[in-house]
C-alpha cells in the first residue's frame, strides 16, 4: 500500500456511510437529469446502481466525481459535508472513478498513466520508481497483474481496465466507482473483475457499480439502488430482491422481455459470405475469415463482446471497409475493394444498413431531418427534380410521412438531427433504411441508448421486415436482444465465428463460453 501519510482523517471517522447524497438535482437546459436524489452507501460494501440508459446514473456519478456541479443538494463523505467542485477534490476525498470509456494515454506506459497527476515532485524518476514498487504490492494484493512497462495501446481491454483501477488505488481511493465496467468484457473477464471488487470490499473499500445489467447486480452487489428517469425509485438489499422486481422498478411496469414473434419461414439464400477478411489501417487482421449464409425471412443474430470483429463485418458488408473473400448478394458477387465497393453500390444491390454508431455514421447531426432521410439515398430518382437539381419539397413531404409512420417526435422535418432524443434519432435511421424495402437489412446495436418504448417499436419493425420475407443480419452486444430476436445465432470471438446456435435450444452460459473464445469441443 502507498505509504504516504493520510491526513484527511477519513479512516478515523466512525460514520457508517462512506457516501451520503442528499437531495441532489441537476438539469441540463430543459432536461432534468437528476431529481432530488438521496442515497446512502455503507462503508465496506458493493453498492449497485441500476437503471435504463438515460436514467441519470452517469450524471449522478459525474457529480460525485466533480465533473458536473449539482444544482442543489449535499454530498457527505464519511459523514462530513464535502464540496466537490472538480476531480481534484474528488480524488482528495478518496474517490476513484473507472469510466466507461477509459481515460488512458494510449502511447504511455502503464506506469506513466498511473503516475500522471499523482507525481511526487517536479522530476519524474522518483515518482516512477515509487509507483513501480506500489504497483507491485497492489497487483499482489488484488489480483491486478499488469506489466508496468507495457504501452496501453498494446494491452487488452480487460487489462486497460485494471490500469484504471490501479490508478484509483494508487491515489489511495477508499471509494471506487465503476461506470458500466463490463460492457467491453467477456463473461470470464467480468467474473474476474467481480472477484477483484469483492477483494477490495473485503479490505474495507467501498465500491459503487453502475450497470444496466440485472445479472451483474444480482451476482456482485450487497445493496442496489434503482434509478428511473432521473429519480431514485428505491434501494434494496440484493439478497432480498429478484431480477423481476428490479426490472419492474427500472421501467415502472412489467417488461415484455420476450419479443412477440412467430416461427421463421426461411426461403432462398439472400446473402452468402465466404472467408471474409478485413484488415484495419495498421494492417492488423480484425476479421479473420468469416463464412455464413442468410436466407430470406430469417434473422441471423451475431453475438459477441464488443470489438471482436462485428463492426468490421458490418462495415465490410455495408461497403465502408475494404475486405477480401467472397460475398454474393442474391447470387451475384459484390465488390469488396476498390472504388466500386461503396455504400451506393451496396444500396443498389438491395442492402440497407442501420450502423452501430448512428451519431457518427448514420446521421449528420447538423443536417435537418429531411436531409438525413436522403442520406445514402440522395441519388434516388424520386428525390430529383431534374438532371441537375434535387427535389427538396418532395424530400420534405416524404420525411413527414416517414416520421408519422414511425412515430418520430417531434414530427418536424426541418428540425436538426441533433435536436432529437437518441430514440427518435434511431427511429429516423431505421425508418430511412427499412422503408427502402431492402432484401437485406444490416442492423448494428439497434437499441443502444434508446428508451424502452422505442426499443419495443424497433424490435417489432425488425420482426415485421423478416415476416415480409427479408433477410436480416443483427449485431448486438446485448445478449438478451440477440436471444429474443434471432432465428439463428452466430457467436464471434477474435474476428472468427465460434459457432452457430439455435436460440430455442441454447442458453446464456453456452453463448458466454463461446463469446470468451472457448471452442465447441471444450464447452
Amino acid at each position: 500500500m502507498p505509504s504516504q501519510a493520510n491526513t484527511t482523517g477519513r479512516q478515523a471517522t466512525a460514520a457508517p456511510f462512506a457516501i451520503e447524497l442528499k437531495g441532489i438535482s441537476k438539469a441540463f437546459g430543459p432536461v432534468q437529469a437528476n431529481k432530488d436524489i438521496s442515497i446512502a452507501v455503507p462503508r465496506g460494501t458493493i453498492h449497485g446502481i441500476i437503471g435504463e440508459n438515460g436514467a441519470g446514473k452517469s450524471t449522478l456519478m459525474s457529480i460525485l466525481y466533480g465533473f458536473y456541479r449539482a444544482d442543489s443538494g449535499q454530498i457527505l463523505i464519511n459523514g462530513t459535508p464535502t464540496a466537490i467542485p472538480d476531480s481534484q477534490s474528488a480524488i482528495r476525498a478518496g474517490i476513484g472513478m473507472v469510466f466507461q470509456h477509459f481515460k488512458l494515454v494510449q502511447n504511455f506506459t502503464v506506469l506513466e498513466n498511473v503516475v500522471l497527476g499523482a507525481e511526487e515532485g517536479a522530476l519524474l524518476a522518483g515518482s516512477l520508481s515509487k509507483a513501480r514498487r506500489v504497483l507491485a504490492d497492489l497487483s499482489r494484493e488484488y489480483e491486478l497483474d499488469v506489466d508496468p512497462d507495457a504501452l496501453i495501446e498494446d494491452l487488452s481491454v480487460g487489462h486497460q481496465q485494471r490500469v484504471e483501477i490501479l490508478k484509483a488505488l494508487y491515489r489511495q481511493a477508499d471509494i471506487l466507482i465503476l461506470d458500466e465496467p463490463t460492457g467491453v468484457l467477456t463473461p470470464a473477464e467480468a467474473d474476474h473483475l467481480f472477484r477483484i471488487l469483492s477483494g477490495l470490499r473485503d479490505q474495507g473499500k467501498t465500491v459503487i457499480l453502475i450497470t444496466h445489467k440485472l445479472r451483474e447486480i444480482m451476482e456482485a452487489t450487497d445493496h442496489v439502488s434503482v434509478m428511473r428517469r432521473g429519480t431514485m425509485v428505491g434501494t434494496v438489499k440484493t439478497s432480498e430482491t429478484s431480477p423481476e422486481e428490479l426490472a419492474e422498478l427500472m421501467v415502472g411496469r412489467k417488461v415484455l422481455l420476450e419479443v412477440d414473434k412467430g416461427a421463421a419461414n426461411p426461403g432462398k439464400t439472400v446473402l452468402s459470405v465466404q472467408d471474409l477478411r478485413v484488415r484495419d489501417e495498421h494492417g492488423v487482421e480484425r476479421l479473420k475469415g468469416v463464412s455464413f449464409d442468410i436466407r430470406a425471412g430469417e434473422i441471423l443474430g451475431i453475438a459477441g463482446v464488443a470489438g471482436n470483429g462485428q463492426s468490421e463485418l458490418l462495415e465490410a458488408l455495408g461497403g465502408i471497409a475494404t475486405a477480401t473473400g467472397r460475398v454474393a448478394m442474391n447470387g451475384s458477387d459484390l465488390p469488396l475493394s476498390g472504388p466500386a465497393a461503396n455504400g451506393q453500390t451496396r444500396r443498389e444491390a438491395g442492402i440497407a444498413h442501420v450502423p452501430e454508431d448512428r451519431q457518427h455514421l448514420g446521421l449528420i447531426m447538423d443536417f435537418e431531418a429531411w436531409e438525413n432521410v436522403a442520406f445514402g439515398y440522395h441519388n434516388a430518382p424520386e428525390y430529383q427534380k431534374n438532371a441537375l437539381l434535387m427535389d427538396n419539397d418532395a424530400l420534405r413531404a416524404d420525411t413527414a410521412a416517414k416520421m408519422e409512420r414511425f412515430d418520430v417526435r417531434p414530427p418536424i422535418p426541418t428540425l436538426a438531427a441533433k435536436s432529437f432524443s437518441g430514440g427518435n434519432q434511431q427511429k429516423i435511421v431505421v425508418a430511412r433504411e427499412i422503408e427502402r424495402n431492402p432484401d437485406l437489412l444490416l442492423i448494428g446495436q439497434p437499441t443502444r441508448g434508446v428508451d424502452i418504448g422505442a426499443i419495443e417499436f424497433i424490435h417489432k419493425q425488425i420482426v415485421a421486415l423478416r415476416d415480409a420475407g427479408k433477410a436480416i443480419l443483427l449485431v448486438s452486444v446485448e445478449l438478451d436482444e440477440i436471444m429474443s430476436l434471432s432465428d439463428r445465432i452466430a457467436v464471434m470471438f477474435d474476428g472468427k465465428i465460434m459457432g452457430f446456435r439455435d436460440p430455442e435450444t441454447t442458453n446464456e452460459r453456452e453463448l458466454g463460453l463461446l463469446m470468451a473464445g472457448v471452442s465447441e469441443g471444450a464447452a
Partner: protein, 364 residues
C-alpha cells in the same frame, strides 16, 4: 450553451464581430496618434460618397466575391483552402497566356477564353494539394500555404526569365492587345449615367455575382452540393452513405481553386492589362475574412465583399490623405477573421447573455 435565434446567429453574430473589430481598429488608430473619426470620414468619402469611389470599391468587391466564394465552397466540404492567393496568381498566369498569345477578335470571346483559362489554372494549382490531401493525407492548410510561396516563386521566375519582353526593365508581361480590354462600368449603357469617369470596376462584377448564385445553387440544390456538405460535416458518415471522399476533396478544391483563379480576370485582364508580380495583392487571403464574415453563404459573401471593398478603397484613401499606413487594412482583416472565425463562441456567449437579460426583463 443556450441557442440563439437563427436570425441572431445570421445577422447579429457577424455584426457584433464587425463592431468589435472596428472598435479595436479605432483604438489602434488612436494609439498611433491619429483620429479614428477623421479616418472613418476619409474612408467613407473616398469610397462611398462619389461614383468614382464606388468604381474602386466595386472593383475590389469583385475580386473579394471570387476569393470569398472560393473559401466558402471549400469550407462546406470541410477543407480550409488558405491557398486562394497562389491560385489567384496562377489564374492570372492563365489570363496572361490566353490574352497574349491568341489574337481575339472581340473582348467578349477573349473574356470567355480568359475566364476558362483563369479557372483552369487556379483549379490545377488547388488540385495538387487536394490530391496530396486525399491520397497522401497531407494537411491541406499547410500544403496550400506552401503552394502560395511556390506560386509566387514560379511567377517571379516566369516574369523575369520567360515572359518579360526584351528591353523591359520591370518584371511583367507585355501589355495585352487592345481587343482584350474589358468594358468598365462607365462604358456600360445605363450604368454610364452614374459612372461618368473611367473606373476600374468592370464587367467581371457581373460574372462574380453570377458565380455567387451558382455556388448557392450547387451547395443547396444539387446532389453534388448535398454530398459536399455531408462530407464536410462528417467524413465517416459520408463514407457510410457511399460518398467518395477522394472525389469530394478533389471536386471541392477544384471548384475553390477555379473561383480563386477567376478573380484574376478582374484585376489582370480588367484592370492592369498585363501580368505583374504579386498581382492578387492579398485578395486571396481576404477571401478568408469575407467567407467568415459572410457566414459561408453566398449572399453573406457578397455583402461582406462590399464591406471589404469599402475597407480596401477607404484604406487606400487613408494612405493618400492621412499618415495612417495602408497596412491598417490588414489589421482590420486580421481582427475580422479573429472575431468571426476564432472567437465566434465568445461573441455568441455575449449575445446569449444579452438575450437572457432581455428575457428576464420581459418576464419581470
Amino acid at each position: 450553451m443556450d441557442r440563439l435565434p437563427k436570425w441572431a446567429d445570421v445577422v447579429l453574430v457577424p455584426l457584433v464581430s464587425l463592431i468589435l473589430a472596428a472598435a479595436i481598429s479605432a483604438i489602434v488608430i488612436k494609439a498611433i496618434g491619429q483620429s479614428p473619426s477623421e479616418a472613418l470620414k476619409v474612408m467613407v468619402e473616398g469610397s462611398l460618397m462619389s461614383a468614382y469611389g464606388w468604381g474602386y470599391t466595386l472593383y475590389y468587391t469583385t475580386s473579394f466575391i471570387f476569393t470569398g466564394l472560393a473559401v466558402t465552397i471549400a469550407f462546406h466540404a470541410g477543407m480550409f483552402n488558405i491557398g486562394g492567393e497562389g491560385q489567384a496568381q496562377i489564374g492570372g498566369l492563365g489570363v496572361a497566356l490566353a490574352c497574349l498569345f491568341i489574337p481575339w477578335p472581340h473582348w467578349s470571346i477573349a473574356l470567355l477564353a480568359a475566364s476558362l483559362a483563369a479557372a483552369a489554372f487556379g483549379a490545377v494549382w488547388a488540385a495538387v494539394p487536394a490530391y496530396l490531401a486525399a491520397k497522401r493525407g497531407s494537411h491541406i492548410v499547410i500544403t496550400t500555404i506552401m503552394f502560395n510561396y511556390i506560386a509566387a516563386a514560379l511567377i517571379v521566375y516566369l516574369l523575369v526569365d520567360v515572359l518579360r519582353p526584351a528591353g523591359q526593365m520591370d518584371p511583367a508581361t507585355a501589355n495585352f492587345p487592345a481587343a482584350t480590354d474589358l468594358p468598365t462600368l462607365n462604358q456600360i449603357p445605363i450604368l454610364n449615367l452614374f459612372f461618368e469617369k473611367k473606373v476600374p470596376a468592370n464587367i467581371t462584377l457581373f460574372i462574380a455575382l453570377a458565380a455567387a448564385w451558382a455556388v448557392w445553387l450547387i451547395l443547396w440544390r444539387t446532389r453534388l452540393g448535398y454530398q459536399l456538405r455531408a462530407f464536410g460535416k462528417s467524413e465517416a458518415a459520408a463514407r457510410y452513405a457511399g460518398i467518395n471522399p477522394t472525389k469530394m476533396i478533389m471536386v471541392s478544391m477544384i471548384l475553390s481553386g477555379a473561383l480563386a483563379g477567376l478573380m484574376s480576370v478582374n484585376n489582370v485582364m480588367g484592370e492592369a492589362g498585363r501580368l505583374l508580380q504579386n498581382s492578387s495583392e492579398g485578395a486571396g487571403f481576404i477571401g478568408i475574412a469575407v467567407a467568415l464574415m459572410g457566414r459561408n453563404h453566398p449572399v453573406g459573401v457578397v455583402l461582406a465583399a462590399i464591406l471589404f471593398g469599402f475597407l480596401y478603397q477607404g484604406g487606400a484613401e487613408l494612405g493618400l490623405w492621412t499618415s495612417i499606413p495602408i497596412e491598417l487594412r490588414i489589421v482590420v482583416q486580421g481582427l475580422v477573421i479573429l472575431f468571426t472565425g476564432a472567437l465566434d463562441i465568445m461573441v455568441r456567449m455575449m449575445l446569449v447573455r444579452i438575450f437572457a437579460l432581455f428575457h428576464k426583463a420581459q418576464v419581470a
